[in-house]
């Protein structure tokens, strides 16, 4: 067997999940993520796993909820409109403190939108989507290799903190092909004493539930959950810095936008413009510290996004508006070209953000 294999981003997620020990996949097809389900359909029966195409997204997320409560490594995947349908389940899973992996290979919206790539579910992923006080760990891969490694990381973090990890990808990374390796995969396993595995009459029974009859108890549960979130915000932010050592201008971009931005940065450097990139890999927890430090050095930021400008709000918050933050964006399934990003860098050099 070859050490490296050539995979589509969506296939890499599915294969990584299987390697991470996921044996339960519940989903419903939607472009541009259908290869995840197709890969699972082909492989799960061969390894004693469960692939189930549910009757809807709502059914599939509740199957995830059930399998997660039973202590299984479980996942679902969808694309933007399908994630909206799963939102209720995401909130219930958060309220029940069970771990799950949810993949969103984003497409243009709102509404039925279209099938071309997008990053316009940033708010939905990082600020809620479902109701109530809760967070999800949101991981934003920028290569097929990261589709694999962050899927494994996502399962690890979900089990560690008993919550949902979301892979927030986009159609392009889902569909593009790159060579990848699984050699460095670090698969962690965690005891799940809270899981519904049957007591055998030997222990007190466990309850997995998001309903609290007394408001005092619900408040305390939320307080405890937010203590856990605080630990995550301290320990788990991930980001990449690219040509930031001497940068006067900082581009902020995640996922596919960061790849376009890198090409623009290389072109701008050839024109003598000192520009670098901070690429958030975790969108929640957002790498606030890296941006805050950069704000003391650079004269401004450019947020490059495939949306009307969503992450830009977190960039402004993280930098406490110390420096101007401009936006270079396309939306609705369109992608900023390297030339468009280069133009916004040239403008930033002139002080126009």
């Amino acid at each position: 067997m070859a050490q490296r294999i050539l995979m589509k981003g969506n296939e890499a997620i599915a294969e990584a999940a299987i390697r991470a020990g996921c044996r339960h996949y519940f989903g419903y097809p939607i472009t541009p993520q259908t290869e995840i389900a197709a890969y699972m359909a082909k492989k799960m029966p061969k390894i004693g796993g469960c692939f189930l195409q549910a009757e809807s997204e709502i059914a599939s997320i509740n199957m995830v909820y059930g399998a997660a409560a039973a202590g299984m490594r479980v996942m679902t995947s969808s694309s933007s409109p399908g994630i909206s349908l799963k939102a209720e389940g995401l909130s219930y899973i958060a309220g029940s403190d069970v771990p799950a992996l949810v993949v969103n290979v984003q497409r243009g919206g709102p509404g039925l939108g279209g099938i071309q790539p997008s990053q316009s579910d940033y708010f939905q992923a990082t600020k809620g989507g479902g109701h109530g006080d809760y967070r999800m760990i949101v991981l934003a891969p920028a290569s097929v290799q990261e589709m694999a490694s962050l899927t494994i990381k996502g399962f690890n973090l979900a089990d560690k903190y008993r919550m949902t990890s979301m892979i927030l990808a986009d159609g392009t990374i889902g569909q593009m092909m790159e060579p990848i390796s699984f050699e460095d995969a670090e698969i962690e396993t965690y005891e799940k004493p809270w899981a519904l595995t049957g007591t055998n009459g030997a222990r007190k029974h466990n309850i997995v539930n998001s309903l609290y009859l007394k408001p005092e108890a619900l408040e305390v549960t939320n307080f405890e959950r937010y203590e856990r979130y605080k630990v995550i915000e301290e320990n788990e932010p991930m980001w990449e810095e690219y040509m930031m050592e001497d940068a006067d201008i900082c581009v902020v971009a995640f996922g596919i936008a960061s790849r376009v931005a890198k090409n623009a940065i290389v072109a701008a450097r050839q024109e003598g413009i000192k520009v670098g990139l901070i690429r958030p890999i975790t969108l929640w927890p957002f790498p606030k510290e890296a941006l805050s430090k950069a704000a003391d050095k650079v004269k401004g930021f450019i947020s490059v996004e495939l949306s009307m400008g969503q992450m830009i709000e977190d960039v402004r918050l993280a930098t406490a508006c110390k420096k101007p933050v401009g936006l270079c964006n396309r939306c609705g399934g369109m992608i900023p070209s390297p030339d468009e990003v280069l133009e916004s860098i040239r403008n930033a050099e002139k002080g126009v953000f």
Binding site: M1, A2, R4, I5, L6, M7, K8, E11, E15, T31, P32, E35, Y39, K42, G108, G113, G114, I115, Q116, P117, G171, T172, Q175, M176, M177, E178, P179, I256, R259, V260, K262, N263, V266, G333, I335, S337, P338
Partner: protein, 227 residues
């Protein structure tokens, strides 16, 4: 090269059919032939034959693509015009067929015409670095599934084993045993080995019938991947 009137590229999902079909059509045009290429892919939403529309037009290759290719409409519909490939016998035809058996169903409706004319090459595109066809046995299974779906048996194999930007000559040479075994298992000849154009001459020192591929640069290629 020895060309049939009609050349069909089918195979596993992501094996490289579209790139090869486009390059093959351009090669036919270079040889002075009248050529028409049809995108019959009803599976893939992105990265399609229509992405090469400019290069095909410049070379005088007629392109038939689904009306909704590269749009926001996810509709697996084929244009009526695609019949031109099997009806207009004065033109060379290249068909780019969607991946796996699911993609090959779309070919079925043209098969009676193809068999009647009987001047075709039905090519299985193989890449040993794709995860679900890493063994010749797995590739053979996909081959049989496609044949069952479209009711047209393969006649040839193209070895397109590569690792994207990490491909070097050795990557291609390492695939020889795999393809030889697939050829033996299926009883089909290896029509050609396709490699990125910059590796073609060095690969040709070791392997016969090397066909160079010009690949499109994409907006998401990383700076260190540019050639």
């Amino acid at each position: 090269m020895d060309h049939k009137r009609l050349t069909l590229f089918a195979g596993h999902y992501g094996s490289g059919k579209t790139n090869i079909a486009v390059n093959y059509a351009l090669q036919l045009a270079n040889e002075g032939k009248k050529v028409c290429i049809a995108d019959l892919d009803i599976v893939n939403p992105y990265f399609r034959t229509a992405d090469s529309a400019q290069a095909l037009k410049a070379a005088g290759v007629a392109l038939i693509a689904p009306q909704f290719a590269n749009s926001n409409v996810d509709l697996p519909a084929l244009p009526a015009e695609a019949y031109r490939l099997v009806e207009d016998l004065s033109s060379f035809g290249v068909m780019d067929i969607g991946g796996d058996d699911r993609g090959a169903y779309a070919l079925g409706r043209y098969v009676p015409f193809i068999k009647k004319e009987n001047n075709y090459r039905m090519i299985f595109v193989a890449n040993c670095y794709r995860p679900l066809t890493q063994t010749p046995e797995d590739a053979l299974e996909v081959m049989r599934e496609i044949e069952a779906a479209c009711k047209l048996p393969f006649t040839d194999i193209v070895n397109n084993s590569h690792l994207g930007p990490l491909t070097d000559v050795q990557t291609v040479l390492d695939s020889r045993d795999y393809v030889e075994k697939l050829s033996k298992l299926s009883g089909l000849p290896v029509y050609m080995t396709t490699v990125r154009a910059d590796l073609a001459s060095r690969t040709a020192e070791h392997i016969p019938n090397v066909f160079p591929l010009l690949l499109q640069e994409k907006y998401f290629d990383l700076p260190d991947q540019k050639r």
